[in-house]
Amino acid sequence: SRPPLPPQETVERLLRLHFRDARSRVNGDAQLLMAELLTIFARGERGDTGQPGPRTLGLGGSPGPYPRARRDPTPAAIPAGPARSRAGLRWVLPPQPGPAGQALPAAAPQQPLPPAEAAARAVRQAQAEDLERVDIEHVEKVLPQLVRPK
């Protein structure tokens, strides 16, 4: 099922933190929509990673990354099936893991990278290095534009 949405007020505060103009506001409907967008964006390609317990479907087994609204009786506009979903649904093409120590190609800079996707890439990098733990260097290798947090 779809993960819970962030509260609208949190969404507006988060956005207003970065506005250049103190008068900029977000109307109620836009707050709702942004809560949806942020929730879905954060999970990226992975879709319903909020499911508890082991998943019987692998990555890409669910019908597209973006879940149908349960209460919506009409069929979702999202194409079903992993094969068809490949082309239009990726935010960024995931690069193949390189040999141990080699950095993966950077994400296309103009595309925002969902955090779940960043996490998945860092995992692939750590696994390519035969490790069981993702450390900051793996994150940095897959996101060369990332600066260490202060």
Partner: protein, 140 residues
């Protein structure tokens, strides 16, 4: 629902950062379980920082879109523009936006019916009673 002009108690950037960090932490936990890997605290913090910065980009883009349309209030049209980079995200957001619009229409239709009933209903005491009950519930 928040209205655009209502004053918000400001939440410190630290608290908002912490909220983002918490959410990203949960996502990393899901990925970790799925892949049977662990994430160090610093690796989670790095991804959370990246995400926080992306929110900044989203906010500035939204503000720019609204400003381009000569508005200071960001609307669903601006949010849809933000979603345009991914086909399926755009479809999903457009669908949600249509659902919002149609439920808003329903609200307006209900209000119109009530006001037209109240205009016609001066001769009917029953109708007036019904109208005032509904208005009371609207004000709740």
């Amino acid at each position: 629902l928040s209205s655009p002009g209502r004053a918000l108690t400001p939440l410190s950037p630290q608290r908002l950062r912490a909220a983002v960090h918490y959410t990203v932490g949960r996502l990393c936990q899901d990925v970790a379980e799925d892949k049977q890997m662990q994430f160090s605290k610093q690796s989670v913090a790095a991804i959370a920082e990246m995400t926080f910065r992306q929110c900044e980009t989203f906010a500035k883009d939204l503000e720019m879109f609204a400003r381009h349309a000569k508005r200071s209030t960001i609307t669903t049209e601006d949010v849809k523009l933000l979603a345009r980079r991914s086909n399926s995200l755009l479809k999903y957001i457009t669908q949600k936006s249509e659902e919002l619009a149609s439920s808003n229409m329903e609200q307006k239709e209900k209000k119109k019916k009530k006001s037209s009933v109240s205009k016609a209903g001066r001769t009917s005491g029953e109708q007036e009673a019904t109208v005032s009950e509904s208005e009371d519930s609207n004000m709740a």
